[in-house]
């Protein structure tokens, strides 16, 4: 079983790590970049499949050279056999579409077509949730790659080696009580839900998991970022710069508006219900909405 997990570097939004300026803009320079937390969940799904079925797990990202450390983080905290970074200036400032195009080409470039591609549920910075499904669409239109079904919001996963199928439980409505089970042929594209939980009910699986975790941590610790990460630029991938990066991005960001403060952060005036004048002003204030304007 050959698997690829897709990931992106995102600002570390955890308390104490993230830094904002006075206007509430993220200070990228002062905020460390980490592996998108949802992608770690996707990588855990890939590791679970490796533990149960065997095979290899590749971890792939598109981004600046600094993302090598993001890949290393995935290898250390979860698992990876090998790391791929699609990176050059032409790929910069890509929207989800141009990213999907680039990643699909990266997958095409791999020696072996993956049986399973894993992606996490949306990134912590972009929050679109588009890149995974769009990548699968780009795989579909790529004549060298096999069309594959996509299963999103996956919370658990079973592979049937003999039948070459994947059976997944997916969270339908965000409510844990609404779960549907779907089955699809391999190869397939899996998007994990944040609720995904790896499951190891056999001692043998837990022992293998322990071995693999030990092995990947050691590999990550001794990783030579220059030698051990495969980096492909647009030429390696034979990509036309007009179709990738900023030039290949149909999305135009015209401006950014700050998100209004939440209700709890708005200013409130406290009025005692026994304060007649005060209560009168409340009714006056509400009156303008009562007309239905």
């Amino acid at each position: 079983m050959h698997m690829v997990t897709l990931t992106k570097g995102v600002p570390d939004f955890r308390e104490g790590k993230v830094s904002f300026d006075e206007d509430g803009h993220l200070e990228r320079g002062k905020t460390p970049t980490v592996m998108n937390p949802n992608d770690k969940i996707a990588l855990k799904a890939a590791l679970q499949t490796k533990v149960r079925q065997g095979g290899t797990v590749s971890l792939m990202s598109m981004g600046p050279p600094g993302y090598k450390e993001v890949l290393q983080e995935g290898m250390e905290d979860v698992y990876a056999d090998d790391l791929y970074l699609l990176s050059d200036r032409e790929m910069g400032a890509a929207d989800t579409w141009a990213t999907a195009m680039t990643i699909a080409t990266g997958i095409d470039q791999l020696e072996e077509e993956p049986d399973l591609i894993f992606a996490g549920f949306k990134t912590a910075d972009g929050e679109t949730g588009h890149t995974g499904p769009q990548t699968n669409w780009c795989i579909d239109i790529n004549e060298d790659l096999t069309d594959r079904p996509i299963i999103t919001h996956v919370i658990s996963l079973e592979i049937d080696d003999e039948e070459e199928t994947v059976r997944a439980k997916r969270l339908v409505e965000g409510d844990i009580s609404e779960i549907e089970t779907v089955e699809a042929d391999l190869p397939a594209f899996i998007v994990t839900d944040p609720e995904f939980e790896p499951s190891y009910r056999k001692a043998d699986h837990r022992l293998k998991y322990k071995d693999l975790r030990e092995e990947t941590q050691e590999r990550a610790e001794n990783l030579d970022l220059d030698e051990d990460v495969t980096v492909w630029n647009h030429e390696d991938l034979n990509l036309d710069p007009d179709f990738i990066g900023l030039d290949g991005s149909p999305t135009i960001v015209s401006g950014v508006d700050p998100i209004p403060k939440g209700p709890s952060e708005r200013e409130a005036t406290m009025i005692d219900p026994d304060d007649e004048a005060g209560m009168e002003s409340v009714f006056e204030e509400l009156n303008q909405y009562a007309a239905g304007d």
Binding site: Y200, R201, K202, A203, R206, L207, K210, D211
Partner: protein, 552 residues
């Protein structure tokens, strides 16, 4: 028939007994799976803290795990004293002779550090056989087919079958109970220990105990400082901490409605302790554990079918007066159980492992240490009230006092006699009255003042780490008569204290009042006391859940 995952050997519990069994099995090429329910081996394990290697024992832990003393134990303990206390008067006897009897070496240990180190070695050894060690997995019972034990059932994993199951799952062994080999009914069969690990930097320890870096002390305490509850206290020097605790007969704790944490405080605040604290006291961890009284419960035939019990699970804990030895016997038993299986298998009859194990325990003299025939012979007489009363009276009389004065050195000698200690009866006379009288008649006054303040119980509980799970204990009868003793006997509960496990409640109905007991398992330290003194359905929390000891 269901296809189960199968291992040649399953060892439940990664303490010294389980670790030795697993390592010995692995060395014989047996495919061995070790299952430990703590987040880490040692995180559920508490002991007073002295680990012996006996000259007469077929297995010692450093033979099985070379390098353990350098890597994972605390200080070697060479000097051993007992302090007989009466008020502020103390008479100290040197127990050196007893301590060195049959002792190759003796180290103080902290279980988290030691067991965690052992587990690493065990995993490496067993992994080579195709097995390995898993943590955070709770074995919850025996798997049977046609009435025969064929494997184990677990919370986190599907059932596993095995040719041999070694239950080294501790004093509250759920497997021993499931097999009907042990019960938790009689408080007389148990001791309960509580312990504080107290911060002290190595130089201060060296200075205050007058020892060097590679020396350690053991001190025992008995007399009138424990409100008449039968038992005593201990202090062992670790590398950078002290293990200080108290151990009492559980029936005595129950009958006297004693609060174990207060008895510990009685020791901690005694003037005698000031020489070591000098007014400073910082507690790293409070812990508790039940201790089986091997004289009564060491199972003479600790096996059933494919199940072999090792260590505390089999009641193999020798506590005879100042002799407190458990881990060394667990190590021996673990080695013998493994050896028994390997031999039985080689003879083509693996089912004979149980009987072979029993024979080995006898042949190697383990059973004789655990259940001295002398104790059984003299028990009926010495534990009868009549004898105790005469003994007490004699001791209190001027004649008794003079006798003690004249024969002080003889008494010291008696304390150092393993032969006599094997007969020591479990009465107030031996545990309380004799030491008190010794202190009174022979002792000298301690003039120091001990002003330290041990933490309150809620701080002790608050400092422990818990991963709270669903309640693992159910009170079956919540009447005060059936389960009220737990309010005081539980080491993390106390009368009038709302933050513990067991609370006393008065329920008023139709003009009448009834005392009931309520339970919140959140602060549970999993000692098992309430399983014995109250009417409960008692299980361990699932793998990785419940209390996590950092010292142990």
């Amino acid at each position: 028939m269901t296809e189960y995952e199968h291992y040649e050997a399953v060892v439940v519990g990664a303490g010294p007994g389980g670790a030795t069994a697993a390592a010995t099995l692995a060395e014989q090429g047996v495919e061995t799976l070790v299952l430990e329910r703590g987040v880490d081996a040692g995180s559920k394990n508490v002991s007073g803290g002295l680990l012996y290697a006996e000259e007469s024992a077929p297995y010692t832990i450093d033979n099985v795990f070379p390098g353990i003393r350098e890597a994972a134990t605390e200080r070697p303990v060479d000097d051993h004293y007992i302090h007989n206390i009466s008020g502020n008067k103390v008479k100290t006897f040197d127990l050196g002779e007893l301590h060195h009897h049959d002792t190759e070496w003796c180290d103080a240990v902290l279980r988290r550090k030691m067991d965690s180190w052992l587990a690493q070695r065990v995993h490496e050894k067993t992994r080579e056989t195709g097995g390995g060690l898993l943590t955070e997995v709770r074995v919850n019972g025996l798997l049977r087919e046609g009435g025969q034990i064929v494997g184990v059932t677990l919370d986190e994993l599907d059932p596993i079958t095995a040719d041999i199951i070694i239950a080294a799952d501790g004093v509250n062994s759920e497997l021993a109970r499931d097999a009907g080999l042990m019960d938790w009914d009689e408080p007389e069969e148990w001791f309960q220990g509580v312990k504080a690990v107290v911060e002290m930097d190595p130089e201060t320890i060296n200075d205050r105990f007058d020892i060097s870096d590679d020396e350690g002390d053991a001190h025992l305490f008995s007399g009138d400082l424990f409100d008449g509850v039968r038992g005593g206290g201990f202090l062992y020097t670790n590398e950078s901490s002290l293990s200080i605790g108290t151990v009492f007969h559980l029936d005595s704790i129950a009958d006297e409605r004693a609060e174990p944490h207060e008895l510990l405080d009685n020791l901690l605040t005694h003037p005698l302790m000031d020489q070591w604290f000098e007014g400073e006291y910082e507690e790293r961890e409070y812990s508790a554990k039940l201790v089986p009284d091997s004289k009564k419960v060491a199972h003479p035939s600790p096996h059933r079918g494919r199940l072999l019990l090792v260590g505390d699970a089999a009641g193999q804990m020798q506590a005879q007066g100042p002799v407190i030895k458990g881990m060394n016997h667990a190590v021996t038993a673990g080695g013998l159980a493994a050896e028994a299986f390997a031999e039985a298998k080689a003879r083509g009859n693996p089912d004979a492992a149980g009987n072979l194990y029993e024979q080995k325990l006898d042949a190697e003299g383990v059973m004789e240490k655990l259940r001295p025939p002398r104790y059984r012979a003299t028990r009926a007489l010495s534990e009868s009230d009549a004898v105790s009363n005469i003994g007490s009276k004699l001791l209190d009389s001027p004649v008794g006092g003079v006798g003690l004065k004249l024969f002080g050195s003889v008494v010291e000698k008696a304390y150092n006699s393993p032969y006599l200690l094997g007969m020591i009866p479990d009465t107030r006379l031996t545990y309380v009255d004799v030491p008190t009288r010794i202190g009174e008649v022979l002792g000298s006054e301690v003039v120091d003042e001990n002003e330290i303040e041990p933490p309150e119980l809620d701080d002790r509980i608050g400092d422990l780490t818990y991963n709270v799970d669903d309640p693992h204990i159910e009170v079956l009868d919540n009447s005060f008569e059936a389960s009220g003793t737990a309010v005081t006997a539980c080491p993390v509960s106390a009368q009038g204290f709302g933050g513990g496990c067991y609370r006393e409640e008065t329920i008023k109905t139709n003009g009448s009042e009834k005392k009931k007991v309520s339970l919140d398992t959140q602060p549970c330290v999993e000692c098992g006391t309430c399983a014995v003194v109250a009417d409960t359905h008692w299980e361990h929390p699932s793998g990785g859940k419940g209390v996590e000891f950092k010292q142990g």
